[in-house]
Chain length 213, copies 2
Protein backbone atom coordinates (compact mmCIF):
# COMPACT_ATOMS: atom_id res chain seq x y z
CA UNK A 1 0.00 0.00 0.00
CA UNK A 2 2.66 2.43 1.09
CA UNK A 3 4.59 2.12 -2.15
CA UNK A 4 1.84 2.44 -4.72
CA UNK A 5 3.57 5.04 -6.83
CA UNK A 6 6.81 3.14 -7.30
CA UNK A 7 7.33 2.40 -10.95
CA UNK A 8 7.49 -1.08 -12.37
CA UNK A 9 11.00 -0.35 -13.63
CA UNK A 10 12.16 -0.05 -10.01
CA UNK A 11 10.28 -3.18 -8.93
CA UNK A 12 11.87 -5.09 -11.82
CA UNK A 13 15.35 -4.43 -10.43
CA UNK A 14 14.64 -5.45 -6.83
CA UNK A 15 14.93 -9.22 -7.54
CA UNK A 16 18.30 -8.55 -9.22
CA UNK A 17 19.58 -6.90 -6.06
CA UNK A 18 18.10 -9.65 -3.93
CA UNK A 19 19.85 -12.31 -6.00
CA UNK A 20 23.24 -10.68 -5.52
CA UNK A 21 22.69 -10.28 -1.78
CA UNK A 22 21.59 -13.90 -1.42
CA UNK A 23 24.60 -15.16 -3.37
CA UNK A 24 26.95 -13.06 -1.30
CA UNK A 25 25.50 -13.98 2.07
CA UNK A 26 25.43 -17.67 1.12
CA UNK A 27 28.81 -18.05 -0.58
CA UNK A 28 31.01 -15.39 0.92
CA UNK A 29 29.81 -14.66 4.44
CA UNK A 30 30.10 -10.96 3.65
CA UNK A 31 28.78 -8.36 6.07
CA UNK A 32 28.90 -5.18 3.98
CA UNK A 33 28.57 -4.27 0.33
CA UNK A 34 28.93 -0.93 -1.45
CA UNK A 35 26.35 0.31 -3.96
CA UNK A 36 29.22 0.22 -6.45
CA UNK A 37 29.71 -3.52 -6.05
CA UNK A 38 26.00 -4.30 -5.73
CA UNK A 39 25.41 -2.37 -8.94
CA UNK A 40 28.22 -4.08 -10.81
CA UNK A 41 27.04 -7.53 -9.85
CA UNK A 42 23.40 -6.72 -10.65
CA UNK A 43 24.23 -4.97 -13.91
CA UNK A 44 22.86 -1.61 -12.74
CA UNK A 45 24.67 1.70 -12.16
CA UNK A 46 25.54 2.45 -8.50
CA UNK A 47 23.56 5.70 -8.62
CA UNK A 48 20.46 3.82 -9.75
CA UNK A 49 20.95 1.21 -7.00
CA UNK A 50 20.96 3.98 -4.39
CA UNK A 51 17.97 5.70 -5.97
CA UNK A 52 15.94 2.48 -6.23
CA UNK A 53 16.59 1.45 -2.64
CA UNK A 54 15.94 4.95 -1.30
CA UNK A 55 12.27 4.50 -2.27
CA UNK A 56 11.95 1.94 0.50
CA UNK A 57 14.04 3.38 3.30
CA UNK A 58 17.56 4.33 4.35
CA UNK A 59 19.46 1.10 4.00
CA UNK A 60 23.01 2.26 3.35
CA UNK A 61 25.50 4.31 5.29
CA UNK A 62 27.67 6.77 3.42
CA UNK A 63 31.19 5.41 3.08
CA UNK A 64 30.19 2.09 4.67
CA UNK A 65 27.69 0.54 2.30
CA UNK A 66 24.77 -1.78 2.87
CA UNK A 67 24.51 -4.43 5.55
CA UNK A 68 24.12 -7.52 3.40
CA UNK A 69 21.85 -9.67 5.56
CA UNK A 70 19.69 -6.76 6.66
CA UNK A 71 19.12 -5.47 3.13
CA UNK A 72 18.48 -9.02 1.91
CA UNK A 73 15.79 -9.55 4.56
CA UNK A 74 14.24 -6.16 3.87
CA UNK A 75 14.09 -6.86 0.13
CA UNK A 76 12.51 -10.23 0.79
CA UNK A 77 9.89 -8.51 2.91
CA UNK A 78 9.26 -5.77 0.34
CA UNK A 79 8.83 -8.42 -2.37
CA UNK A 80 6.51 -10.45 -0.11
CA UNK A 81 8.93 -13.37 -0.30
CA UNK A 82 9.25 -13.80 3.46
CA UNK A 83 6.32 -16.21 3.36
CA UNK A 84 5.64 -18.99 0.88
CA UNK A 85 3.67 -17.97 -2.19
CA UNK A 86 1.54 -20.73 -3.70
CA UNK A 87 1.14 -20.84 -7.46
CA UNK A 88 -1.33 -22.54 -9.80
CA UNK A 89 -0.21 -23.42 -13.32
CA UNK A 90 -2.88 -23.65 -16.01
CA UNK A 91 -2.08 -25.52 -19.24
CA UNK A 92 -0.02 -28.64 -18.64
CA UNK A 93 1.50 -29.06 -22.11
CA UNK A 94 5.20 -29.55 -22.64
CA UNK A 95 6.01 -25.98 -21.56
CA UNK A 96 3.79 -26.24 -18.48
CA UNK A 97 5.41 -29.52 -17.51
CA UNK A 98 8.91 -28.12 -18.00
CA UNK A 99 8.09 -25.10 -15.85
CA UNK A 100 6.70 -27.35 -13.11
CA UNK A 101 9.96 -29.36 -13.08
CA UNK A 102 12.01 -26.18 -13.24
CA UNK A 103 10.14 -24.72 -10.27
CA UNK A 104 10.52 -27.96 -8.31
CA UNK A 105 14.29 -27.94 -8.84
CA UNK A 106 14.50 -24.27 -7.97
CA UNK A 107 12.62 -24.64 -4.69
CA UNK A 108 14.62 -27.74 -3.73
CA UNK A 109 17.98 -26.17 -4.46
CA UNK A 110 17.15 -22.92 -2.75
CA UNK A 111 15.02 -23.17 0.37
CA UNK A 112 14.52 -19.43 0.44
CA UNK A 113 12.91 -19.39 -3.03
CA UNK A 114 9.43 -19.15 -1.62
CA UNK A 115 7.40 -19.34 -4.82
CA UNK A 116 6.04 -22.83 -5.35
CA UNK A 117 3.71 -24.42 -7.87
CA UNK A 118 1.17 -26.36 -5.81
CA UNK A 119 -1.68 -26.99 -8.29
CA UNK A 120 -1.95 -27.90 -11.98
CA UNK A 121 -4.94 -27.39 -14.27
CA UNK A 122 -5.83 -28.38 -17.80
CA UNK A 123 -8.97 -28.83 -19.85
CA UNK A 124 -7.96 -32.17 -21.39
CA UNK A 125 -9.84 -34.94 -19.51
CA UNK A 126 -7.16 -37.49 -20.48
CA UNK A 127 -4.74 -35.60 -18.22
CA UNK A 128 -6.99 -35.39 -15.14
CA UNK A 129 -5.55 -37.28 -12.18
CA UNK A 130 -2.08 -37.67 -13.72
CA UNK A 131 0.70 -36.06 -11.73
CA UNK A 132 3.78 -33.99 -12.55
CA UNK A 133 6.35 -33.81 -9.76
CA UNK A 134 3.72 -35.22 -7.45
CA UNK A 135 1.11 -32.59 -8.27
CA UNK A 136 -2.22 -33.83 -9.65
CA UNK A 137 -3.65 -32.28 -12.83
CA UNK A 138 -7.22 -31.08 -12.28
CA UNK A 139 -9.95 -29.66 -14.50
CA UNK A 140 -10.03 -25.88 -14.85
CA UNK A 141 -13.57 -25.97 -13.45
CA UNK A 142 -12.07 -26.73 -10.02
CA UNK A 143 -9.79 -23.69 -10.11
CA UNK A 144 -11.75 -21.41 -7.76
CA UNK A 145 -12.26 -24.12 -5.18
CA UNK A 146 -8.60 -25.25 -5.18
CA UNK A 147 -7.30 -21.68 -5.07
CA UNK A 148 -9.34 -21.13 -1.94
CA UNK A 149 -8.41 -24.43 -0.31
CA UNK A 150 -4.67 -24.15 -0.93
CA UNK A 151 -4.32 -20.39 -0.54
CA UNK A 152 -3.04 -19.92 -4.09
CA UNK A 153 -2.03 -16.31 -4.80
CA UNK A 154 -0.39 -16.44 -8.21
CA UNK A 155 -0.97 -18.15 -11.55
CA UNK A 156 1.23 -19.20 -14.47
CA UNK A 157 -0.70 -19.43 -17.73
CA UNK A 158 0.71 -21.75 -20.39
CA UNK A 159 -2.31 -22.33 -22.63
CA UNK A 160 -2.58 -21.58 -26.37
CA UNK A 161 -3.19 -17.94 -27.32
CA UNK A 162 -6.84 -18.47 -28.28
CA UNK A 163 -7.68 -19.89 -24.84
CA UNK A 164 -5.63 -17.47 -22.75
CA UNK A 165 -8.27 -14.79 -22.14
CA UNK A 166 -10.93 -17.28 -21.02
CA UNK A 167 -8.45 -18.94 -18.68
CA UNK A 168 -7.27 -15.62 -17.29
CA UNK A 169 -10.86 -14.54 -16.67
CA UNK A 170 -11.35 -17.70 -14.60
CA UNK A 171 -8.07 -17.10 -12.77
CA UNK A 172 -9.08 -13.54 -11.90
CA UNK A 173 -12.56 -14.73 -10.93
CA UNK A 174 -10.91 -17.15 -8.50
CA UNK A 175 -9.30 -14.19 -6.73
CA UNK A 176 -5.76 -14.35 -8.16
CA UNK A 177 -4.14 -10.99 -8.78
CA UNK A 178 -0.68 -11.82 -10.12
CA UNK A 179 -0.31 -13.75 -13.38
CA UNK A 180 2.71 -14.81 -15.40
CA UNK A 181 1.46 -15.24 -18.96
CA UNK A 182 3.27 -17.32 -21.58
CA UNK A 183 0.54 -17.14 -24.21
CA UNK A 184 1.50 -14.94 -27.16
CA UNK A 185 -1.45 -12.60 -26.82
CA UNK A 186 -2.44 -9.47 -24.97
CA UNK A 187 -4.73 -10.04 -22.00
CA UNK A 188 -7.37 -7.77 -20.57
CA UNK A 189 -7.57 -7.78 -16.78
CA UNK A 190 -9.31 -5.54 -14.24
CA UNK A 191 -7.38 -2.86 -12.40
CA UNK A 192 -5.42 -4.27 -9.48
CA UNK A 193 -4.50 -7.47 -11.32
CA UNK A 194 -0.89 -7.65 -12.50
CA UNK A 195 0.15 -9.60 -15.58
CA UNK A 196 3.79 -10.20 -16.42
CA UNK A 197 4.39 -11.36 -19.94
CA UNK A 198 6.83 -14.17 -20.59
CA UNK A 199 6.08 -14.19 -24.28
CA UNK A 200 9.13 -15.87 -25.75
CA UNK A 201 8.24 -14.97 -29.31
CA UNK A 202 8.33 -11.28 -28.42
CA UNK A 203 11.71 -11.67 -26.74
CA UNK A 204 13.15 -13.41 -29.78
CA UNK A 205 11.74 -10.77 -32.12
CA UNK A 206 13.20 -8.02 -29.99
CA UNK A 207 16.61 -9.67 -30.03
CA UNK A 208 16.44 -9.95 -33.81
CA UNK A 209 16.54 -6.16 -34.00
CA UNK A 210 20.16 -6.20 -32.88
CA UNK A 211 21.36 -8.70 -35.46
CA UNK A 212 22.38 -6.11 -38.03
CA UNK A 213 24.32 -3.86 -35.68
Amino acid sequence: MRWKKISDAVVRRLPLYLRVLEEVSRDEDRKLMSSQELGERAGVSPALVRKDLAWFGEFGKQGVGYEVSYLRDELRRILNLDEKIRVALVGVGSLGQALTRYNKNRTEQDRSFNIEIVALFDNDPSKFGKTIEGIAIRPVSELAQVVKELGVQMAIVTVPADQAQVVVDAVVQAGIRAILNFAPTKLVVPEGVHVASADLSLELQRLAYYLDD
Copy 2:
Protein backbone atom coordinates in the same frame (compact mmCIF):
# COMPACT_ATOMS: atom_id res chain seq x y z
CA MET B 1 23.60 0.91 -37.91
CA ARG B 2 21.41 3.91 -38.58
CA TRP B 3 19.40 3.45 -35.40
CA LYS B 4 22.11 2.88 -32.85
CA LYS B 5 20.84 5.37 -30.34
CA ILE B 6 17.31 4.03 -30.14
CA SER B 7 16.60 2.82 -26.64
CA ASP B 8 15.81 -0.75 -25.79
CA ALA B 9 12.47 0.37 -24.36
CA VAL B 10 11.43 1.45 -27.87
CA VAL B 11 12.75 -1.76 -29.45
CA ARG B 12 10.81 -3.78 -26.88
CA ARG B 13 7.52 -2.32 -28.10
CA LEU B 14 8.08 -2.88 -31.83
CA PRO B 15 7.14 -6.59 -31.70
CA LEU B 16 3.92 -5.61 -29.89
CA TYR B 17 2.97 -3.29 -32.75
CA LEU B 18 3.99 -5.91 -35.30
CA ARG B 19 1.79 -8.51 -33.64
CA VAL B 20 -1.27 -6.24 -33.81
CA LEU B 21 -0.61 -5.38 -37.46
CA GLU B 22 -0.17 -9.04 -38.38
CA GLU B 23 -3.37 -10.03 -36.60
CA VAL B 24 -5.28 -7.25 -38.29
CA SER B 25 -3.97 -7.88 -41.79
CA ARG B 26 -4.56 -11.62 -41.44
CA ASP B 27 -7.96 -11.66 -39.75
CA GLU B 28 -9.64 -8.46 -40.79
CA ASP B 29 -8.28 -7.42 -44.18
CA ARG B 30 -7.93 -3.90 -42.82
CA LYS B 31 -6.14 -1.23 -44.82
CA LEU B 32 -5.73 1.56 -42.26
CA MET B 33 -5.30 1.82 -38.53
CA SER B 34 -5.10 4.86 -36.24
CA SER B 35 -2.37 5.23 -33.62
CA GLN B 36 -5.25 5.26 -31.13
CA GLU B 37 -6.38 1.76 -32.11
CA LEU B 38 -2.86 0.40 -32.59
CA GLY B 39 -1.99 1.68 -29.12
CA GLU B 40 -5.09 0.23 -27.50
CA ARG B 41 -4.52 -3.19 -29.01
CA ALA B 42 -0.81 -3.17 -28.13
CA GLY B 43 -1.36 -1.82 -24.61
CA VAL B 44 0.58 1.40 -25.27
CA SER B 45 -0.60 5.03 -25.31
CA PRO B 46 -1.28 6.47 -28.79
CA ALA B 47 1.26 9.25 -28.20
CA LEU B 48 3.95 6.70 -27.42
CA VAL B 49 3.05 4.68 -30.54
CA ARG B 50 3.56 7.77 -32.68
CA LYS B 51 6.79 8.69 -30.91
CA ASP B 52 8.21 5.17 -31.17
CA LEU B 53 7.45 4.83 -34.86
CA ALA B 54 8.72 8.31 -35.67
CA TRP B 55 12.23 7.08 -34.83
CA PHE B 56 12.14 4.96 -37.96
CA GLY B 57 10.37 7.17 -40.46
CA GLU B 58 7.09 8.85 -41.31
CA PHE B 59 4.65 6.01 -41.45
CA GLY B 60 1.36 7.64 -40.58
CA LYS B 61 -0.71 10.38 -42.15
CA GLN B 62 -2.44 12.87 -39.91
CA GLY B 63 -6.14 12.11 -39.72
CA VAL B 64 -5.73 8.97 -41.82
CA GLY B 65 -3.56 6.65 -39.74
CA TYR B 66 -1.09 3.98 -40.71
CA GLU B 67 -1.26 1.75 -43.77
CA VAL B 68 -1.46 -1.65 -42.12
CA SER B 69 0.43 -3.79 -44.62
CA TYR B 70 3.09 -1.17 -45.30
CA LEU B 71 3.83 -0.57 -41.61
CA ARG B 72 3.81 -4.32 -40.95
CA ASP B 73 6.39 -4.90 -43.68
CA GLU B 74 8.53 -1.99 -42.51
CA LEU B 75 8.49 -3.27 -38.92
CA ARG B 76 9.46 -6.73 -40.14
CA ARG B 77 12.37 -5.19 -42.00
CA ILE B 78 13.44 -3.02 -39.04
CA LEU B 79 13.35 -6.10 -36.77
CA ASN B 80 15.31 -8.15 -39.35
CA LEU B 81 12.40 -10.58 -39.59
CA ASP B 82 12.07 -10.36 -43.37
CA GLU B 83 14.52 -13.24 -43.69
CA LYS B 84 14.68 -16.44 -41.69
CA ILE B 85 16.76 -16.29 -38.49
CA ARG B 86 18.34 -19.58 -37.48
CA VAL B 87 18.66 -20.34 -33.79
CA ALA B 88 20.77 -22.79 -31.77
CA LEU B 89 19.47 -24.00 -28.42
CA VAL B 90 22.01 -25.11 -25.83
CA GLY B 91 20.85 -27.28 -22.94
CA VAL B 92 18.27 -29.87 -23.97
CA GLY B 93 16.67 -30.57 -20.58
CA SER B 94 12.92 -30.44 -20.08
CA LEU B 95 12.77 -26.67 -20.59
CA GLY B 96 14.96 -26.84 -23.71
CA GLN B 97 12.78 -29.59 -25.15
CA ALA B 98 9.59 -27.69 -24.39
CA LEU B 99 10.95 -24.55 -26.06
CA THR B 100 11.96 -26.56 -29.13
CA ARG B 101 8.41 -27.93 -29.43
CA TYR B 102 6.94 -24.51 -28.76
CA ASN B 103 9.08 -22.97 -31.48
CA LYS B 104 8.18 -25.74 -33.92
CA ASN B 105 4.45 -25.14 -33.34
CA ARG B 106 4.90 -21.40 -33.63
CA THR B 107 6.74 -21.58 -36.95
CA GLU B 108 4.24 -24.09 -38.35
CA GLN B 109 1.20 -22.09 -37.34
CA ASP B 110 2.61 -18.80 -38.54
CA ARG B 111 4.71 -18.93 -41.68
CA SER B 112 5.86 -15.38 -41.18
CA PHE B 113 7.39 -16.16 -37.77
CA ASN B 114 10.89 -16.32 -39.18
CA ILE B 115 12.81 -17.36 -36.07
CA GLU B 116 13.52 -21.08 -36.12
CA ILE B 117 15.49 -23.42 -33.89
CA VAL B 118 17.69 -25.45 -36.27
CA ALA B 119 20.34 -26.95 -33.97
CA LEU B 120 20.40 -28.44 -30.45
CA PHE B 121 23.39 -28.83 -28.18
CA ASP B 122 24.04 -30.50 -24.85
CA ASN B 123 27.04 -31.82 -22.93
CA ASP B 124 25.44 -35.13 -21.91
CA PRO B 125 26.82 -37.87 -24.23
CA SER B 126 23.73 -40.03 -23.63
CA LYS B 127 21.71 -37.40 -25.54
CA PHE B 128 23.99 -37.11 -28.58
CA GLY B 129 22.29 -38.24 -31.77
CA LYS B 130 18.79 -38.24 -30.27
CA THR B 131 16.35 -35.88 -31.95
CA ILE B 132 13.68 -33.45 -30.76
CA GLU B 133 11.21 -32.39 -33.45
CA GLY B 134 13.59 -33.86 -36.02
CA ILE B 135 16.62 -31.88 -34.82
CA ALA B 136 19.65 -33.90 -33.69
CA ILE B 137 21.28 -33.14 -30.33
CA ARG B 138 25.01 -32.51 -30.74
CA PRO B 139 27.94 -31.97 -28.36
CA VAL B 140 28.66 -28.36 -27.43
CA SER B 141 32.16 -28.86 -28.88
CA GLU B 142 30.59 -28.79 -32.36
CA LEU B 143 28.88 -25.45 -31.76
CA ALA B 144 31.26 -23.22 -33.76
CA GLN B 145 31.29 -25.55 -36.74
CA VAL B 146 27.50 -25.99 -36.86
CA VAL B 147 26.85 -22.27 -36.39
CA LYS B 148 29.01 -21.61 -39.43
CA GLU B 149 27.52 -24.40 -41.53
CA LEU B 150 23.89 -23.57 -40.84
CA GLY B 151 24.22 -19.79 -40.63
CA VAL B 152 22.98 -19.66 -37.02
CA GLN B 153 22.63 -16.09 -35.74
CA MET B 154 20.93 -16.46 -32.39
CA ALA B 155 21.16 -18.73 -29.35
CA ILE B 156 18.77 -19.81 -26.61
CA VAL B 157 20.59 -20.89 -23.45
CA THR B 158 18.75 -23.31 -21.15
CA VAL B 159 21.58 -24.76 -19.07
CA PRO B 160 21.92 -24.66 -15.25
CA ALA B 161 23.17 -21.39 -13.76
CA ASP B 162 26.66 -22.69 -12.95
CA GLN B 163 27.26 -23.67 -16.58
CA ALA B 164 25.72 -20.64 -18.24
CA GLN B 165 28.79 -18.41 -18.48
CA VAL B 166 30.99 -21.13 -20.02
CA VAL B 167 28.29 -21.94 -22.56
CA VAL B 168 27.73 -18.29 -23.38
CA ASP B 169 31.47 -17.77 -23.87
CA ALA B 170 31.41 -20.61 -26.42
CA VAL B 171 28.32 -19.16 -28.09
CA VAL B 172 29.95 -15.75 -28.40
CA GLN B 173 33.18 -17.36 -29.61
CA ALA B 174 31.15 -19.05 -32.35
CA GLY B 175 30.11 -15.61 -33.62
CA ILE B 176 26.60 -15.36 -32.19
CA ARG B 177 25.58 -11.90 -31.02
CA ALA B 178 22.03 -12.32 -29.79
CA ILE B 179 21.27 -14.62 -26.86
CA LEU B 180 18.08 -15.43 -24.98
CA ASN B 181 19.18 -16.62 -21.54
CA PHE B 182 16.98 -18.74 -19.26
CA ALA B 183 19.67 -19.46 -16.67
CA PRO B 184 19.08 -17.61 -13.39
CA THR B 185 22.41 -15.81 -13.41
CA LYS B 186 23.94 -12.65 -14.79
CA LEU B 187 26.14 -13.15 -17.83
CA VAL B 188 29.17 -11.18 -18.93
CA VAL B 189 29.41 -10.64 -22.68
CA PRO B 190 31.56 -8.39 -24.86
CA GLU B 191 30.16 -5.14 -26.23
CA GLY B 192 28.03 -5.72 -29.31
CA VAL B 193 26.52 -8.95 -27.96
CA HIS B 194 22.93 -8.67 -26.78
CA VAL B 195 21.52 -10.83 -24.04
CA ALA B 196 17.82 -10.93 -23.24
CA SER B 197 16.97 -12.49 -19.93
CA ALA B 198 14.07 -14.90 -19.70
CA ASP B 199 14.76 -15.63 -16.07
CA LEU B 200 11.42 -16.95 -14.84
CA SER B 201 12.41 -16.78 -11.18
CA LEU B 202 12.99 -13.05 -11.48
CA GLU B 203 9.61 -12.56 -13.16
CA LEU B 204 7.84 -14.48 -10.41
CA GLN B 205 9.66 -12.52 -7.71
CA ARG B 206 8.76 -9.26 -9.37
CA LEU B 207 5.09 -10.27 -9.53
CA ALA B 208 5.16 -11.15 -5.85
CA TYR B 209 5.74 -7.48 -5.08
CA TYR B 210 2.17 -6.70 -6.14
CA LEU B 211 0.52 -9.32 -3.95
CA ASP B 212 -0.06 -7.02 -1.00
CA ASP B 213 -1.53 -4.11 -2.93
